[in-house]
Symmetry: C2
Subunit: 429 residues, 2 copies
Amino acid sequence: MEKTAVTSRDFILKGDICYSKTKDALDCREKGVLVCTAGKSAGVFSEIPAQYKHLPVADFTGKLILPGLADLHIHAPQFALRSLGMDLELLDWLATFVFPEEAKYHDLDYSSQAYTALIEDLKKGPNTRSCLFATVHTPATLKLMDLLEASGLVCMVGKVNMDRHCPDSIREKDAETSAAATQEWLEQCGSYKNIKPILTPRFIPSCTDDLMRRLSALQKRYHLPLQSHLSENQREIAWVQELCPKSACYGDAYSQFDLFGGEIPTIMAHCVWSEDKEIALLAKQKVYVAHCPQSNSNLSSGAAPVRRFLEAGVPVGLGSDVAGGAHTSIFRAMTDAVQVSKLRRRLIGQNDAPLSLEEVFYLGTLGGGSFFGPVGSFEAGYEFDALVLEDAGFAPPFKLSLRDRLERAVYLSDNSHIKAKYVRGIAIL
Amino acid sequence: MEKTAVTSRDFILKGDICYSKTKDALDCREKGVLVCTAGKSAGVFSEIPAQYKHLPVADFTGKLILPGLADLHIHAPQFALRSLGMDLELLDWLATFVFPEEAKYHDLDYSSQAYTALIEDLKKGPNTRSCLFATVHTPATLKLMDLLEASGLVCMVGKVNMDRHCPDSIREKDAETSAAATQEWLEQCGSYKNIKPILTPRFIPSCTDDLMRRLSALQKRYHLPLQSHLSENQREIAWVQELCPKSACYGDAYSQFDLFGGEIPTIMAHCVWSEDKEIALLAKQKVYVAHCPQSNSNLSSGAAPVRRFLEAGVPVGLGSDVAGGAHTSIFRAMTDAVQVSKLRRRLIGQNDAPLSLEEVFYLGTLGGGSFFGPVGSFEAGYEFDALVLEDAGFAPPFKLSLRDRLERAVYLSDNSHIKAKYVRGIAIL
């Protein structure tokens, strides 16, 4: 094989490597070699293959090397609200805490200050990919995208659309205004390397039919992925049924505007109360569920039927849902997902088996990562997002298997244990 | 008032002070003054009272000052097992992970190494009081007590009793041997200042009737408090019913040996499945429930009816239940308790209101602290256990009330935010 010039995105990591092969199986390689060429994985090996012997080696012997984590659902302007108002449920919490806070993002200085704090947190944490809701404000949304681009993280960001059922301070005047602002925003975000726009109607109650039709047209024109909310809270679901009396289920209310997956990559956050018909629609349309267990507990929403999504073939990833969730780390979302699945089974007597460590690790890496393309694995050809974790500080006084070290790191690590972090082959820590 | 000589346990802290007045009400004092005299609180003031003007002041202006936290249930030898085996339920997890690990504690070197790691963690964390299970081994239990005494933490420690239904490696030969070993242990732990023994029959399945009778006699003779487990898991409860066919409920199986509260301070961990009769017995006998929400999720045990305990007048505190729980911090137990109470209500349609921030903060301070005497409050006369937290690192870009800063610290703080920690008026950090 011909040698090419070595760039900063060509190197080798040595250490104890774990990643998901499938949702049920880990590949765990002690004293492994992980090769990055041109920002992509060239695979995991036991020894450095001959054709890569010329690459520089970062020796992390004894440390864990894992794929970067993917957060499929986070509200950037709610970072400042973490853990506040946790006695309320969704609709009251939106009205009391979220909408007044989001209204502040017409102020670019405030936005810049608040978004900088979020991004500092994200850089130090284990996530390398995020799908973020911004607010309705174009300048603040572009500011968020600028700051994220500078961070090295790879993200999708959505200017939010809302033209009804919210305070005047954040309601766009009408469907036409909202769609025009969206188009104006889209035309300003073509030059980012790592940040892509994603269409973001907040949820059915916030968007008139007219707006949904216009967004559907924009989506086709710009080939935009989409993120929104689905079946999070029982009062919300009843409200959607009132607003869209012809829809067969909440998901169908998006479908009627051709805004529910299919050809277009789509994320629906929560899906706590999705029943058979909606689960079948999610599966058929290959809509990603962003499972946000901590938020669903904090806002008393419930516990999503993740086992059923997996059995039905619905693609699933994890979401922090800051600030319904208080923690940005997708490691925390993994353990929350396990715990909630156990309580769900015990309390409502379902036959749905709890989620395993293997499953939640998959959901937080390859499961959600795949929304971004070949991301979340170390198989050859995947984009090179990696974390190096020092787990010696919480090692027990006996030898653990690599799989058990992973379980322990998922439960017990914090940002202080992250010793290196790579996104698309570039070190950002 | 006559001035006395100033000792290291006489001083003043200045800062933003929060503590529980009752389970529903916080006392929050910005720019407050907290006076410690002879290791006890002399109260919270707005200005330094004249009689204390001569005391040295530690100025923590802008930082939070909170009571130390109380962990009513932790298994010291399971610290090494945190987060391992989380796919199992209680009885299988005990057999597969816990009993083999506890058997290692016949080795004093191993015990010393493992207990040192636990205590390093506890010193850095927010808890100032703990009730710990050790193992059946007297030398290792005394080693744990020695190490805890040196740490400055105030704890109760129990040598565990088990004479049936466990592997030979940790089963005491018979009731007589177990009781004799307990007496021998008790006679060696009279000289600790901060560490007290607590009688610790593991749970009904581990102890023959003969052993329970002997422990009851020892309890009377030595005036010992008691800790054990109650109604954690449905298979366990069915087993207890088989073992004690005459008992009206699991709690009654302890009652029949006069080992269920009343005059004697008693903690029962979990009580996940306690029904009306058992709740009434807990209330009548003033038995403390150690509510361990994370463990109850991790081991798929369920969600305890804490609201009912509170309404029935049962004393309640929080427990980490390491290693059913993976985290020693009682801040984490507070948020877990809120989240689990919300899921419990949503999933099983109960009318039990979720726990509030005020309630869980009370449970983790005064609620559990009161098991140790006047502990967990800053009212005058309480033992001076205090934490100083730097919350500026997670402050939002707007001013929060002190109550909201507390909520945020409960959800978001970690050990790195603890800037000082006092136990009985002595700084241990």
